[in-house]
């Protein structure tokens, strides 16, 4: 039985404009959010999404139609772009100071809530890429462990453990940063 998404993909494979537009509308925002959380920069996230959709078109042109899970396929393209980005910058720990999220102007004058958001964002960017990925997908995007496992090629149990460790580390980092700010 052909699912609605598979029909959409079949149309996209022959470059049906309506189908492509629907795919873009459906996935651009979650993909952008994902990229923004991992890259910490609006501009980089925009570049990432633009390049990723272009890669998707090229894949379609070469007949590489994704299997059953279009969402996982698109997230993998985006994630590969992000990994390439950090590799190109030759940053061992991925998180050089200049790669931290853009500081919001006037952050010191902003309300406490905004400071907390900033602390969380900065803490998030001190985690490993794997940990950031699983936090964004599981806790912010609300993906089930099984879908994340499919995307990153691990067992669902391993994803659960990774998520546990990631969220625990994030809490600790938040506490430490909060403590330093006090």
């Amino acid at each position: 039985m052909i699912t609605e998404e598979q029909k959409l993909l079949q149309k996209a494979a022959i470059f049906d404009e309506a189908a492509l537009a629907e795919i873009y509308d459906r996935y651009q925002n979650p993909l952008y959010r994902y990229a923004l959380h991992l890259l910490g920069s609006d501009q980089l996230a925009e570049d990432c999404i633009s390049d990723s959709f272009l890669r998707f078109l090229k894949a379609l042109r070469q007949g590489n139609i994704p299997g059953e899970n279009l969402r996982a396929y698109l997230y993998r393209i985006v994630h590969n772009w992000i990994v390439d980005h950090y590799r190109k910058k030759c940053i061992d720990d991925h998180f050089d100071e200049k790669d931290l999220p853009d500081e919001q102007p006037g952050i010191e004058d902003s309300v406490i809530a905004n400071m907390e958001i900033e602390i969380i964002r900065q803490a998030l960017h001190t985690l490993t890429l794997d940990q950031q990925q699983v936090i964004v997908l599981k806790y912010i995007e609300g993906w089930p462990n099984e879908d994340i496992a499919l995307l990153i090629g691990k067992r669902a149990g391993a994803v659960k453990a990774l998520a546990h460790r990631a969220i625990r580390t994030l809490r600790k980092k938040c506490r430490n940063m909060e403590w330093k700010n006090e």
Binding site: L20, A21, Y24, L36, L54, R61, I135, G157, K160
Partner: protein, 311 residues
């Protein structure tokens, strides 16, 4: 965010979602521009012809040429390549494994190989320390998953810490500094062990680390005595004969809780008196193994009194 200290991970995750989940709305103008660009690119790509890449591979085997090469050589190369590739894959795949997982032993072996290949004492010390922290991570992860960490995990943790300190002892001039660095790392990690939970397993982990911390304090206070005691400790250690020589591996059973080779059998590594100096402290000295892959945890032996390393 102070109030968060008492909330559990799920509550924190919920708050995380509320706080930053909706913060990343994309500029609508950029969305429209991006969509228009995407559809334009689609038209251009659709019109373009797919580049015909000339075939890179032979479509047929040239058997007459193949016969010229000895088949034995080819088979050897294929086997070697397979071993290297599968070995690398297994090592990579094992890095997230926990005690009891199928590839956990591969993880330990890869750590041992890294230690064996490292010559500089300071680098070796850092490596030992990082492996000790890995053991802490594993124990914490198992606790979080509702599993009871096996005794061997605690033994390995202490063993890696002891080896790190042993390497520090080789840096005689910089011993206090090296011990201080180990201490700081350990202290930071202790802080990360959750304190608000009442889980006895977590308490045990914290106590284990704190005991080592106290012991390090003594070394920092009097490094000379620390080294001497370490050396004398080996000579006088009452149960050094219990440590067998290097073993070839760790049985699967050892991963199970309740394994009898308890870390308390290790001289100076019991949960009690932290001032007792371990007898196998000095690398290269008697009883100090060449790596930890072989399960050279002192006191981990068969208990028959045989010790191939005994002087």
């Amino acid at each position: 965010m102070n109030k968060k200290t008492k909330m559990n991970h799920d509550q924190f995750a919920e708050q995380l979602r509320e706080m930053i989940g909706d913060q990343s709305s994309r500029d609508p103008v950029l969305v429209q521009e991006g969509k228009a660009r995407f559809l334009t690119q689609a038209k251009l790509i659709q019109k373009s012809t797919v580049t015909q890449i000339p075939p890179q591979r032979h479509s047929k085997w040239n058997l007459s040429r193949l016969k010229e090469v000895k088949m034995g050589t080819i088979i050897t190369l294929i086997v070697l390549l397979g071993l290297v590739l599968s070995g690398t894959t297994a090592v990579q795949a094992s890095q997230n494994d926990l005690p009891g997982d199928p590839l956990y032993q591969v993880k330990l072996i890869s750590e041992g190989v890294r230690l064996d290949l490292t010559m500089d004492p300071e680098e070796k010390m850092n490596l030992d320390l990082s492996f000790a922290l890995r053991r802490v991570d594993e124990i914490e992860e198992m606790i979080e998953l509702g599993l009871e960490p096996p005794e061997m995990s605690y033994a390995r943790l202490e063993n890696s810490l002891m080896h790190a300190v042993g390497q520090a002892a080789l840096l005689e001039d910089d011993l206090p500094g090296a011990l201080l660095r180990i201490r700081q790392t350990l202290q930071e990690r202790i802080r990360e062990v959750e304190s608000e939970t009442e889980n006895p397993l977590q308490t045990r982990l914290r106590t284990t680390l704190q005991t080592r911390l106290s012991w390090l304090d003594e070394g920092i206070a009097d490094p000379e005595r620390f080294i001497n005691e370490a050396r004398i400790g080996w000579e006088t250690a009452p149960n050094r004969g219990e440590a067998s020589g290097p073993q070839t591996g760790i049985d699967e059973d050892e991963e199970k809780p309740g394994f009898e080779a308890r870390p308390t059998e290790i001289p100076g590594m019991g949960p009690g008196v932290p001032t007792q100096t371990p007898g196998y402290l000095i690398p290269g000295g008697p009883g100090y193994g060449t790596g930890e892959t072989g399960g050279q945890i002192p006191g981990e032996g068969n208990g028959n009194g045989n010790n191939s390393n005994k002087p």
